[in-house]
């Protein structure tokens, strides 16, 4: 009670003296990635030890998928086969699919390269690369908040879609059948050179367990 009052008092000082920057938490930092803007470049190591950069895929459509295999929302899309089907269809069309792992060591969703390979095989997943972002820098840069958080980058390198995988925020497997799949739509739009509508939705899922 008293401590909270002290904190409020401090915040009052902060607000008026415009030193809010000192007080604001990491969540308040503006991410670089914005719909319609160029997707910021990054480099990361994949589960097979290969170093991969976003700029390696110039001229191609790229999907970014943030994941955490223990998250119930991620499980909904893998246990139903929804995510794998999306991946296969996309990769078959020449899209580059990057799955990102931003869980910190010791947190839910953290895996070793070996576990990542095993999970990919077990679940019959088909991303182009599975990338480690253990320090969370890429995730923070893109403002990824939850798993699964989905991004579609068009061939010109601009972010065409950011948000949820579909419009049914739930953990029920059955919902994937009736949901409107935004990622699929964004990929079709990118292929046709059209603008995805909506280009931005609220992602649903588990909070990403970033390194603090």
């Amino acid at each position: 009670m008293q401590r909270r009052d002290i904190m409020r008092m401090s915040l009052a000082f902060g607000a008026v003296l415009s030193v809010s920057a000192i007080l604001s938490g990491p969540g308040l930092a503006e991410p670089l990635a914005k719909v319609g803007a160029a997707a910021p470049d990054f480099r990361a190591t994949d589960m097979n030890g290969k170093s991969v950069a976003l700029s390696d895929f110039k001229g191609k459509t790229v999907v970014l998928e943030w994941t955490n295999h223990e998250c119930p929302f991620v499980r909904k899309h893998y246990n139903s086969g929804n995510m794998q089907a999306l991946q296969k269809q996309a990769v078959g069309e020449g899209v580059v699919w990057l799955t990102l792992l931003s869980s910190d060591k010791g947190e839910q969703g953290f895996v070793t390269p070996e576990q990542a390979r095993k999970l990919t095989a077990e679940r019959n997943a088909a991303p182009s690369y599975k990338l480690f972002d253990t320090d969370g820098k890429i995730g923070q840069m893109y403002g990824a908040q939850v798993t699964p958080h989905m991004y579609v980058i068009d061939p010109s390198g601009k972010l065409a879609y950011i948000g949820a995988i579909d419009d049914k925020p739930s953990t029920r497997l059955d919902d994937v059948k009736t949901a409107r799949n935004y990622v699929r739509e964004a990929l079709v739009a990118a292929k046709d050179g059209k603008v995805m509508d909506p280009p931005l939705t609220r992602a649903y899922g588990c909070t990403i367990k970033y390194a603090s």
Binding site: I6, L11, A15, R202
Partner: protein
């Protein structure tokens, strides 16, 4: 064979002696993280009656489930009913949620044990004596850092009774908590302004006192409307309160009406904080600019991070440092610094002494401020410091002071004589002068800091005295620090520019920020009162200018009497003009309060809410004894227009027709005292009960020998009726 189940259904309860027994939940659902069951507020339901049922959830420590808008992640809890024919279930009546920061995101939800109420209506042809089993499938997501989806098939067997059944005592506490947390219709208009990125939510809650608010937060229904993680800085002014909101996914779209729940936590007596929730719909429109706002950054509500005393003191120190460059403080300090430079290294000891004296002056003034606060607090004056600083007369006096300092810097007059404030200002006068320069620095800093001082002092109201004092002294030390360094570290003075003719020009130049501050204060005054006061203020400054001109021109030599006369005329005129805002403060400012208090006094309801069925008598201490002599119990209700909790209690618990009937039936005399304008008789009455503020509810049994019962500050209808039953 086909008939058997029906007969069994009919007979079984009788055979087992179940009829008339309270509602029975099947085994509750239990998992590692949660316990869930269906519960009913009453032990039975009558045909056609609507009874509150609820999903009772209990999560293990640190885990939570979600509100209808879960925030940045999570899922709302869902209940799917399968009811016998004719039975109806409403939607979940969501209690006001809590804000839960996690990993830089913010979720909205509930912790520990709570009930999500749902209204269940029995068909008119339900047969008394029957027992009905209600089934529901509930799904929720329970999270700490990680999340687990849970699902339970729940059922509740509810006897149908001929008449309304009494409340089930087992769940009274949970249902009453849910009812207190239920958003009430907002008694205030809400307007929404803003641009592509930001919104300003204006709630026309006039007459609120900033220092009674511990928290203000708006929970939007639509998850796309706002950035959930962004803080919602609060301003409170005469026009109402405003929250600065950051837009979410919908940023860039046209500003649309915003619906949601506004939570206002109000500080009550005894360290109690009442969390009041209002449902509102803000329509896009013109948001008024608030003239003199008390600003508070309201911290995250529920698990709140820890900032220790040292950290708070460091922040205060930083705040004090920044005060040095504020337009109202800088000129004064700069002149003093130049005086130091003039003294130079030859007078090191003197410079050091003055630096210390100045610091002492600043600290003493801050200690005085903190002391004043404590006196105010202990005196039970709920009128807050923020309000004092917003008083039109105080604003005008500050404008006068700014103008005077400006005139002095311009060279219109000089002040002489050792040891007074003027001497310090002119850069003479030794240690005593330096001490008062310190005091003056704090006073002239007021217009630049008043809003935040008000808020900070308001927060300090609940902080323990030593902590509040430490924080305020740190602020003072920050203000004094640059000057202190100059006086203590010999080398630093070398970096000051060399004294010379330019100093006169610069000194005159510095008058302009002071005049600008005066202009701003007069504008604030005009906003608070009206154009008449603005004219009075301008004439007052003119009169002061005349006074100091007369004094400066004729203050010495044989024309001295003329100088004194001219100065006298000017000063008297300026002081007489203070009467205009004073009168305005008495007429204009309370007019809004009167309107609000009139509505509480006469209608006894929240503005906009439906009128109370209770006919309140005006509070009269002698009337209590008189009524009891006549064998009547008395219910005393002490309220004020600016007390949110009072409004909520009167709009909900105290305005029900049921309670009105009970009071009439028992011949209870309801009495209401309005403390909006601090009636001394009510203050005395509050003190008798050890209270320094409203609300206060007291129930007197008719028997004068029996002691009165003080009811809780947060009322429900049931609570009052229960107290009446015990009479």
């Amino acid at each position: 064979m086909r008939k058997l189940p029906r007969i069994a259904l009919f007979l079984l309860p009788c055979l087992l002696g179940l009829a008339g027994h309270p509602a029975e939940a099947a085994e509750p659902f239990r998992s590692k993280y949660s316990e869930a069951a269906l519960v009913a507020e009453r032990s039975a339901i009558a045909p056609g009656e609507t009874v509150q049922l609820g999903l009772r959830l209990k999560h293990i420590a640190g885990w939570h489930s979600y509100w209808r808008n879960p925030g940045d992640s999570g899922l709302p809890t869902e209940i799917e009913w399968s009811l016998p024919e004719g039975w109806k279930a409403g939607d979940i009546q969501w209690p006001a949620p809590y804000r839960m920061p996690i990993e830089g995101l913010v979720n909205y939800g509930f912790k520990d044990e709570f009930v999500l109420p749902v209204a269940i209506t029995a068909p008119a042809d339900a047969k008394p004596g029957e027992s009905i089993t209600l089934n529901a499938n509930a799904t929720w997501l329970v999270c700490e850092k990680i999340c687990v989806p849970e699902e339970a098939e729940l059922s509740l067997t509810l006897p149908v009774a001929a008449a309304s059944a009494p409340a089930d005592p087992r769940y009274g506490r949970l249902f009453s908590a849910a009812s207190l947390a239920q958003p009430k219709p907002s008694p205030w208009q809400a307007t929404l302004g803003g641009d592509d990125a930001k919104l300003k939510l204006h709630v026309a809650a006039t007459g609120l006192q900033a220092d009674r608010l511990a928290e203000a937060y708006f929970f939007p229904y639509d998850g796309n409307a706002l950035n959930h993680a962004a803080l919602q800085p609060l301003s409170v002014g005469a026009e109402g309160l405003q929250l600065a909101l950051k837009r979410g996914i919908d940023a860039g779209k046209p500003v649309a009406p915003l619906e949601g729940v506004l939570v206002l936590a109000e500080k009550l007596d005894g360290g109690l904080v009442a969390r009041q929730a209002f449902e509102l719909r803000a329509t896009p429109g013109v948001v008024p600019t608030m003239a003199a706002a008390s600003i508070g950054g309201i911290a995250p509500a529920m698990p709140g991070g820890d900032v220790d005393v040292i950290e708070a003191m460091l922040l205060a120190l930083l705040g004090g440092l920044i005060l040095n460059v504020m337009p109202c403080v800088f000129p004064v300090l700069f002149m003093k610094a130049l005086a130091f430079a003039r003294l130079g290294n030859a007078h090191r000891a003197e410079v050091r002494r003055e630096g210390l004296a100045y610091t002492a002056g600043v600290l003493a003034t801050f200690a005085l401020l903190a002391g004043l606060l404590i006196v105010l607090r202990d005196g039970g004056a709920a009128i807050g410091w923020g309000y004092q600083l917003q008083h039109p007369v105080v604003v005008l006096l500050l404008a006068y002071l700014m103008a005077l300092v400006g005139f002095n810097l311009m060279g219109l007059f000089e002040l002489r004589g050792g040891g007074n404030i003027g001497a310090a200002l002119a850069g003479r006068g030794g240690s005593t002068g330096a001490f008062f320069t310190g005091a003056l620095a704090v006073v002239v800093a007021t217009p630049c800091t008043a809003p935040f001082m008000g808020a900070a002092l308001g927060f300090a109201l609940t902080a323990p005295k030593p902590v509040a004092l430490a924080v305020f002294l740190s602020l003072g030390l920050g203000l004094a620090l640059p000057f202190l360094l100059f006086s203590l570290v010999p080398g630093l003075a070398r970096y000051l520019p060399k004294p010379g003719g330019w100093m006169q020009s610069f000194r005159q130049f510095l008058a302009f920020p002071m005049f600008a501050t005066a202009a701003w204060l007069i504008w604030v005054l005009a906003q608070q009162t009206g154009p008449d006061t603005m004219l009075a203020a301008l004439l007052g400054v003119l009169a002061l200018g005349f006074a100091v001109w007369g004094w400066g021109r004729f203050g010495e030599g044989r024309w001295r009497p003329v100088g004194i006369a001219l100065a006298g005329i000017g000063v008297v005129a300026a002081l007489l003009l203070l009467r205009v805002p004073l009168a305005g403060a008495d007429d204009a400012a309370p007019s809004a309060r009167d309107a609000a208090s009139a509505s509480t006094t006469s209608a006894g309801s929240m503005p906009g809410a439906k009128g109370s069925a209770i006919a309140w008598d005006r509070f009269d201490a002698d009337g209590i004894a008189e009524a009891r002599r006549q064998g009547r119990p008395v219910l005393v209700n002490m309220t004020a227009a600016w007390c949110i909790t009072c409004l909520v209690n009167e709009g909900a618990a105290l305005s029900s027709a049921g309670l009105a009937a009970q009071l009439q039936q028992r011949n209870v005399l309801p009495m209401k005292g309005d403390w909006t304008r601090r009636d001394p008789a009510i203050t005395r009455y509050l003190n008798e009960f050890g209270r320094s503020g409203v609300p206060l509810y007291v129930l007197y049994p008719a028997d004068p020998a029996r002691a009165p019962v003080v009811l809780p500050q947060l009322l429900t209808e049931g609570l009052v009726i229960e107290a009446l039953n015990k009479l």
